[in-house]
Amino acid sequence: MKGLILKDLLNLKGTFKMLGLMIFIFAVIYIPQGNGFIFGMIILMVAMMVVTTISYDDLAKWDAYALTMPVTRKEMVLSKYLVMALLNTLGAVLALIVGIVGSMIMRQSFSMETLAIIGVLYLIAFSYGSMMVPLIYRFGTEKARLMLILSALIPTGLVLLVTQMQIPLPEAANPWIYFFLLLGFTVIMVSGSYLISLRIYNKKEF
């Protein structure tokens, strides 16, 4: 299992360098504007890399080969979810660093708001990946990408609709309630997603 995770990280070595450069450029552009948008960018960019690892695997026909080694199908799936967790965490840490360094440069104190944004995005990245991975296992990287773009439009549309209709959002006295709701949702998403992926992968023929 360790070997499988290592394989993904080694494969991403080149991508990491590119990413570092991009983050730097984005930081230079957006931090002076005090824009929270950059944290989302960073986290999502890193989170998306789990998809890259799967498309690398497809390209090399890796999975069929890996399964000739002492590696079970369960380990194959679990390792992808662990890579996802690693990448998401890396994204969040990078976002934090950019946030802290940014606020130091701008001579502001690092706000709780930024921390909250990063925390929320971190959890959303997990839900996002949880939708993505089973779709990829079922339909392949190319089709799954398209489907995800489409399915991202649905919640966006809903949010727009809600704001259009000016339905008042329930205001909780304690924002922590939202956080725990989101945390619970994420845990359900990830574990459900893992089980579905495992089912799909167990049935797969190479």
Binding site: G3, L6, L10, N11, A60, T68, T72, E205
Partner: protein, 285 residues
């Protein structure tokens, strides 16, 4: 002598293709050549052995263990090379070692280094820049470096030049010197098998047509060249398949010596595995 592989009545149904009761053995200490044209079922059989596809029936034992029950244990001691390179383009030989060292319990780094040196594989180049021959050699080096008892090679020599092929065949011959070891090698380059195989298993349209020791096969079978008149004289059980040319008949016969005795003036030639394959697939019965 125990068997490294024992397949009994393997069945696998696809919509347009079937493996029908495939059974054969790979004895330890031997190289078994698994032949058949493209799409005959070689790769499907190998994939079923490795549980890459689900079988619809039959049992498969490898190294004395059931492949469904002891899958992980078996795979610790099996090296597999498939058609093509399965390592990612941007890795280097060192990266591969790092990753496989934590996958295989018995990964032997020294042995791996020796093979890299022997095959002259560069350590500072990424795999994308390797030639096809280098990629195959890398796959073989990897397959051997966890000290397997059994090698399964699916078209491992196709697409390679004769020099690289011979180099690889030599390595296989070394490997088989240990009597516990065994190799199953599927190929449609039958000249390679002429050189190294001890047994020939021939699959055609999902069925095993032939499973025999190579030497017996080659010493017994022969090609009879004759006119139509002589061909009509042959008994049905004296030949396996025939091919009709413009002026003559070419007949694959079961027992060269018997035919020679019966028809002393007949033109009888020896046969290669390739010819046997062609007769079975393209000849008439």
């Amino acid at each position: 002598m125990t068997n490294a592989i024992e397949i009994k009545n393997l069945n696998k149904n696809y919509q347009d293709f079937k493996l029908k009761d495939v059974s054969f053995k790979v004895p330890r200490g031997s190289i078994v050549g698994f032949i058949g044209e493209n799409g005959a079922g070689k790769t499907t059989t190998i994939k079923a052995m490795l549980n890459l596809v689900k079988r619809d029936g039959g049992t498969i034992e490898m190294l004395g263990m059931d492949t469904l029950k002891d899958e992980k244990k078996i795979k610790e001691s099996v090296g597999v090379v498939m058609d093509g390179c399965n390592f990612h383009d941007n890795l280097k030989t060192g990266d591969i070692a790092k990753m496989l060292a934590s996958i295989y319990k018995k990964w032997n780094q020294e042995l791996y280094q020796q093979y890299l040196k022997k095959f002259k594989l560069p350590e500072n180049k990424i795999i994308k820049e390797f030639s096809r021959g280098m990629k195959m050699k890398l796959q073989i080096a990897v397959a051997l470096s966890h000290e397997p008892e059994l090698l399964i090679l699916d078209e491992a020599t196709s697409g390679l030049d004769p020099i690289v092929r011979e180099e690889i065949l030599d390595v296989f011959m070394d490997f088989i010197q240990d009597e516990k070891h065994a190799i199953l090698i599927s190929s449609h380059i039958t000249s390679d098998l002429d050189k190294i195989a001890d047994y020939i298993v021939f699959i055609h349209q999902g069925e095993i047509l032939l499973d025999e020791e190579k030497e017996t096969l080659l010493s017994k079978m022969g090609v009879l060249k004759c006119g139509e008149e002589d061909f009509r004289k042959l008994e049905v059980d004296e030949y396996i398949r025939y091919r009709k040319n413009q002026f003559s008949f070419e007949v694959l016969v079961n027992d060269k010596a018997a035919i020679r005795k019966k028809y002393p003036e007949a033109v009888l030639d020896g046969v290669t595995i390739e010819e046997i394959m062609l007769f079975y697939v393209r000849g008439e019965k």
